[in-house]
Assembly symmetry: C2
Homo-oligomer: 195 residues x 2
C-alpha cells in the first residue's frame, strides 16, 4: 500500500534501550538516539512519538525481557528453592561481567522516584510479576521443607527482590561476579531456619 519502513522497529528500539541504560533519560539527547539507532529524526518521531514515549516503551520492553531472562535461569531447577537460587546466581553471573550494562528499571526508579506516574506503573507491574514468582516458589519450598517453616513468604520474597536491586546497583558500581555470587548466597542463608 505504501512505502515500508527501512528499519526493524524492535531492533532499533533495542538500541534505544541500550542508549537509555547507559545515559539515563535526561542524559540522552535525541541526537544520541538517532545516531545510535541509525534512523532519521523524522522516522524516530513518526514511529515512537516523542522522547518520553520512546523511553516509556523502552522501559516496558526492557522490563519484560528482563523478567523473562531472569525466570529463564530456573528452567533446569529441580526444586522450588533451587529455582530461586538459580535466579540469583544466574543474575550474579551475568551482571558481574565487565561489559554488562545498567538495569533500566532501577535507573528509572532512581531518576524519577515516584514523580512520574507512568514510570511507577510500568515498574510496579514487572515488580509484581517477579514478586509473584518468588512468593510461589518460596511457599512451595516451604511445603517441601526447603526453607524455614515459620518464614513469612511474602516478606521473604520482597527481601529477595530488594537484594536483587542492591545487586544491580552494586554491579553498576563495578562489582564482579564473585562478589555478586557471594551476596546471592548470603541472601539465601536468610531462608534457612534458626539454629
Amino acid at each position: 500500500m505504501a512505502r515500508p519502513r527501512a528499519f526493524d522497529r524492535d531492533q532499533v528500539l533495542d538500541i534505544a534501550i541500550e542508549v537509555f541504560r547507559q545515559k539515563g533519560f535526561e542524559g540522552t539527547s535525541t541526537d544520541d538516539l538517532i545516531t545510535a539507532m541509525q534512523i532519521g529524526r523524522q522516522s524516530l518521531y513518526a514511529t515512537f512519538g516523542d522522547k518520553r514515549s520512546l523511553y516509556l516503551e523502552a522501559l516496558r520492553r526492557y522490563n519484560t525481557n528482563s523478567i523473562v531472562d531472569l525466570l529463564d535461569a530456573r528452567r533446569d531447577a529441580t526444586s522450588p528453592r533451587q529455582a530461586v537460587e538459580a535466579l540469583l546466581l544466574a543474575f550474579a553471573e551475568q551482571a558481574g561481567q565487565p561489559a554488562a550494562s545498567a538495569c533500566l528499571g532501577v535507573n528509572s526508579i532512581c531518576e524519577f522516584g515516584t514523580s512520574d506516574g507512568d514510570v511507577v506503573r510500568i515498574n510496579h507491574e514487572s515488580g509484581q510479576t517477579l514478586q509473584r514468582f518468588l512468593e510461589r516458589n518460596l511457599r512451595e519450598a516451604q511445603q517441601q521443607g526447603e526453607v524455614d517453616r515459620s518464614l513469612d513468604t511474602r516478606g521473604a520474597a520482597q527481601f529477595i527482590a530488594v537484594t536483587l536491586m542492591g545487586m544491580k546497583v552494586s554491579a553498576r558500581a563495578g562489582a564482579d561476579t564473585a562478589t555478586l555470587r557471594n551476596i546471592a548466597q548470603m541472601a539465601l542463608r536468610s531462608l534457612d531456619g534458626p539454629p
Copy 2:
C-alpha cells in the same frame, strides 16, 4: 578585608544537595540551583566553580553526612550485633517516611556508572568507611558468639551494605517503613548459624 558573602556556603550547598537528590545531575539546571539556593548566578560560579564541581562537592558532603547519620544510630547499642541491627533499622525508619528523599550516592552510581572517575572515587571512599565499620562489628559479634562463627565477615559486611543499597532504591520507589524494617530483619537472619 573585603565584602563578606551574603550567604552561608554550607547552607546553600545543602540546598544544592537536596535539588540534586531530587532531580539528578543531568536533570538539574543551573537555574534550578540558583532559584533554590537563592543566590545569584555569578555567586554560584564564583563560590563553587561549574555545575560539575558543585555536584562533586555536594556528593562528597552528602556521603560524609550520610555515613555519620548512619553510624550515629548505633550509639545506644550494647553489643556489636545490636550496632549493625540499629543501623539497618534506623535507616528503615528514616527512609520509609513519605517525605524522605533519594540517596545521592546511589543516584550518582546509577546515573554515571563507572564512567566518571571522580564520582567513582568519592563513592568508593565512603563505601569503604561503611564496609570497615560493618566488618569490624561483625568480627567482634562473631567473637562474642552473636553471629555464626563460620561466617566470612568481609562477605557478610558486603552483603549488608548491598542490602542497604537495595533498601535505598526500594525507598525511592515508595516502600514504607514497615516493609523496609522487614527487609532489614530478613537480612539480619543471614548472620545466624545454620539450623
